[in-house]
Symmetry: C2
Subunit: 290 residues, 2 copies
């Protein structure tokens, strides 16, 4: 850090170029048993079911309503897209934001029974603070939905909405009762994952980050893009190897594989942080929870 | 301003919600005789012509190379799109940024013979400073190309790349000689004008601005969107009515009409600033030029 911040040092980076990017799911908070946004979507299906009687017999909604996770899994990517379209589109951005706010403050994680925002990683909160204390601007660059994250990232991570980049659906300006509203359309604008992450970074930030943090192969292109610039740079993968205190998964995981990224990290000398060996605590202790 | 910044005032707005958005062309700098990005594109056609012998006989390139502005105008929107595709796509973002840097530091405005960045508006520079001194975050929200603006907005306006929102083409991650690059594709990602401005604001900032500044009907939806929130808010149009010191155009202008916006401003009590009557100086005096 000293070489980056010290004026006159060979590795000095002007404050305005100190951009650090963080994946969210699995990097700043947990992502098991399912990415939390998927649990939100399933909860939304349940709370919207009364006005959708047809869901009782239509997959994957029927499986969700019966609590049949294997039936949901059988519906595959098509099923997941149908759930996302039904729960994330056709409403205004304000309505969606309220639904997220309501859920994030009341819902509980199925394994730990804690609020989801208590499942952030304490060492990463400290890293965010440390970087900002050294005039870094911290961004989230996540495959998760941008409108799902923005309602709570500022109070949870200290990262304001305008520094949150995520997957996004198309928006359309309409007039409702003479007031302008933005309606969420069931069409994709940006898939901010894998090769989409450098695209999201360039289109939203317009500068190459000098520090990048991820935990799976979906973050590999973001780390490669960040490390391909000149001057001092830092890349780090969080390795989920602590089944005792969190979850353990890497090369063989179906949803969040850490395989090619791990090989690249070793080959390039990037940091691989072991949650088991390197992290004294995983989540904030309750009275420090954000 | 006092009611916005004073803690405990009824109109207090927390610093993180003090978002101000500015159109660029005609609001922060001049846009006549043509938007400067269009002049850049024509200059690019001239400098690329040697490797495109077919342009000598293909419109609208032939007209540009002959300096025939009327021939260019006859090619209409299709012609403009062809010029943009030829000069703004098919290269990497780094290459395009270098081309813009080179042009903006050397090209001269055809009427004033000044560098384009000398044609910014001094009162708007002061307004940007004043807002930032009161903890506002200032953004550009322009129909112009985001990759065209970012290379010079930080030193010209104090607005960093990550606070510049503009029209954008699609980007694609590729490997060139083992290095990741982003290639600009000839496909539109966002037209950040008219009803596209609230979309750009929501997708990139994710908060509703409390102050919005424009100069033409292309900015109307941005001002409406910004004014539709609760609490203290400010909307202002710059009126180009000073043919002597700058340019005079409004309701009848072919490219940058200020007509419906003017009516709405009067109906809603928004500010319409007369460049002729309200601005003591238009451009920075030379030794203050950014």
């Amino acid at each position: 850090m000293a070489q980056v911040t010290a004026e006159g040092s060979a590795g000095h980076v002007p404050a305005e170029e100190r951009i650090a990017v963080f994946d969210n799911d699995g990097t700043l908070w947990s992502e098991k048993p399912l990415p939390f946004q998927m649990i939100f979507a399933m909860d939304q299906v349940r709370s919207m079911a009364a006005s959708h009687p047809e869901w009782k017999t239509r997959e994957p909604f029927a499986s969700i309503l019966k609590g049949d996770m294997q039936g949901l899994a059988r519906s595959g990517e098509q099923g997941a897209l149908a759930v996302m379209a039904a729960t994330h589109a056709g409403m205004t951005t304000d309505e969606f934001q309220q639904a997220v706010q309501q859920w994030i403050t009341t819902a509980r994680h199925p394994v730990s029974n804690k609020p989801y925002t208590a499942l952030v990683y304490q060492p990463m909160l400290e890293l965010l603070e440390y970087l900002r204390a050294n005039d870094f601007k911290t961004f989230i660059v996540s495959g998760g939905g941008v409108e799902f994250m923005r309602p709570w990232t500022e109070r949870t991570y200290g990262i304001p909405p305008e520094q949150v980049i995520g997957s996004a659906g198309r928006l359309k300006l309409e007039q409702h009762d003479g007031h302008p509203v933005l309606v969420k359309l069931p069409a994709v604008d940006l898939i901010n994952d894998k090769e989409g992450k450098p695209v999201g970074i360039q289109s939203r930030i317009g500068r190459r980050p000098i520090a990048a943090f991820g935990n799976s192969d979906g973050d590999l292109q973001m780390l490669q893009w960040s490390m391909a610039g000149s001057g001092p740079r830092l890349a780090l993968f969080v390795h989920h190897d602590d089944a005792q205190r969190e979850f353990a998964y890497d090369r063989e995981d179906a949803l969040q594989k850490f395989d090619k990224g791990w090989d690249e990290a070793i080959a390039n000398g990037w940091i691989v942080a072991s949650m088991k060996d390197d992290w004294k605590v995983i989540h904030p202790v309750p009275d420090q929870a954000p």
